[in-house]
């Protein structure tokens, strides 16, 4: 049955209506979970607010587990969904750069949009920065085109790389995530004792 659009069950006309609706749900969840505040987000790195870790990992494990069940039920054909291609070296480099950008800016692209929506100037500036960054990247692209395309491994999944079946990864992720939730709950309580209440 699914995925609906690649299987032609939903035609292209509805595509963008669906895009907006999904976007609204996404934006709502990001904002309602507290991602419109950079200080909430960065809290994950300083131990005073682990909301990012909680939301993010809960989302990943629910989606992972759900996908496996839905595939089993024949609702989603896992072989037809888009698997992000892996370019190992540029991906690692890019993620390190993103890590810096994350801790400096305090946002990631999606969350900065919601920050703009509730009137935060830093979110707007971050988005302008994103625009400039991508612009700079594109202008200088010929310089690192080879690097950009290096380390290509194809649209590989964890199973393709390690040979371990997907459910084991789902289980391992779930286990690690749940353990992390309990540990961070304790850490957060301790850190907050030593920190003055932050206002935003």
């Amino acid at each position: 049955m699914g995925p609906l659009i690649p299987n032609g069950i939903i035609t292209g006309d509805w595509n963008f209506v669906i895009a907006i609706l999904i976007g609204i749900a996404f934006g709502f969840l990001l904002e309602a979970s507290g991602f419109s505040s950079s200080r909430n987000i960065v809290g994950v790195f300083y131990g005073y607010n682990f909301v990012v870790l909680r939301v993010f990992f809960t989302a990943v494990i629910v989606a992972m587990v759900g996908l496996l069940y839905f595939d089993y039920f024949g609702w989603i054909d896992l072989s037809k969904i888009f698997i992000l291609p892996t370019y190992l070296a540029p991906m690692i480099a890019g993620s390190v750069i993103m890590g810096f950008g994350f801790i400096l800016g305090g946002f990631c692209p999606g969350t900065s949009f919601t920050a703009i929506a509730i009137g935060k100037l830093d979110g707007l500036v971050f988005t302008i920065g994103l625009y400039l960054g991508i612009f700079l990247f594109s202008e200088g692209f010929p310089l690192y085109e080879n690097f950009y395309n290096s380390g290509y491994m194809g649209n590989v999944t964890l199973t393709d790389v390690t040979g371990i079946a997907a459910p084991w990864f789902a289980f391992a992720f779930t286990f690690i995530a749940l353990a992390a939730f309990w540990v961070t709950m304790i850490i957060e309580k301790r850190v907050r004792k030593n920190i003055k209440e932050y206002k935003f």
């Binding site: 494990i61 629910v62 992972m64 587990v65 496996l68 069940y69 089993y72 072989s79 079946a165 997907a166 459910p167 084991w168 789902a170 289980f171 992720f173 779930t174 286990f175 749940l178 939730f181 309990w182």
Partner: protein, 205 residues
């Protein structure tokens, strides 16, 4: 409150652990057994040697001939541009790359048609489409294309047309001359007509 969190944690662990017990993915993507049973009783997969000859002569780019005999026989003789995929290695991933190429018609052939048909069934179970079996196989190929039999006088017009096509194809595949003596002038006319068609289609040859 803490009790609810413990319950949540346990629920999630159970859900995740449950995925491990879901049926393991089959090694190969296979079609539903019922669909396969339905597909094998359709005679639409059979194509004649004439059709294949025509496609080869026309250099039909969609044609992909698969020789399912063993490699020894394949080396001795094979049809033009055929690929050797012995039945026993059909399920090896390396060989599967030959199948499922968009816009191609896979045609299996063997000495007769049994082996080719068996390959067809296995490949169909693997989910590949647009596959055909050359009915009669190479034996029929020899009888119809390499050594075409002249139809009896009483045969309908179409049989003669077919015969003339086969004679043309024979030249294409063996390079032999038509036995000019013995054939009546009337037939020669027909030959010319058929030949025209084949040459027009075969282009350079």
């Amino acid at each position: 409150m803490n009790r609810n969190y413990i319950f949540l944690t346990l629920l999630m662990v159970v859900l995740a652990a449950g995925t491990i017990f879901l049926k393991e993915e089959p090694e190969y993507q296979q079609i539903n057994a019922e669909d396969l049973l339905y597909d094998v009783i359709q005679p639409t997969r059979y194509v004649t040697t004439d059709q294949i000859a025509k496609m080869i002569i026309n250099k039909d780019p969609t044609l992909e001939l698969i020789d399912v005999r063993d490699s020894k026989s394949f080396e001795k003789f094979s049809l033009n541009n055929a690929i050797n995929v012995p039945l026993d290695s059909l399920i090896l991933p390396d060989y599967q790359e030959y199948f499922g190429i968009p816009g191609t018609k896979v045609v299996f052939y063997s000495n007769d048609d049994i082996l080719a048909d068996q390959s067809w069934v296995i490949a169909r179970r693997l989910g590949f489409k647009d596959m055909y079996v050359m009915k009669g196989g190479l034996n029929k190929w020899v009888e119809t294309i390499i050594k075409p039999q002249e139809p009896p006088e009483t045969a309908p017009e179409t049989a003669f047309e077919q015969y003339q096509f086969r004679k043309g194809a024979q030249i294409f595949f063996t390079g032999s001359k038509i036995e000019a003596p013995g054939s009546s002038t009337k037939k020669e006319k027909v030959t010319v007509r058929r030949k025209k068609k084949t040459t027009a289609a075969s282009g350079g040859c």
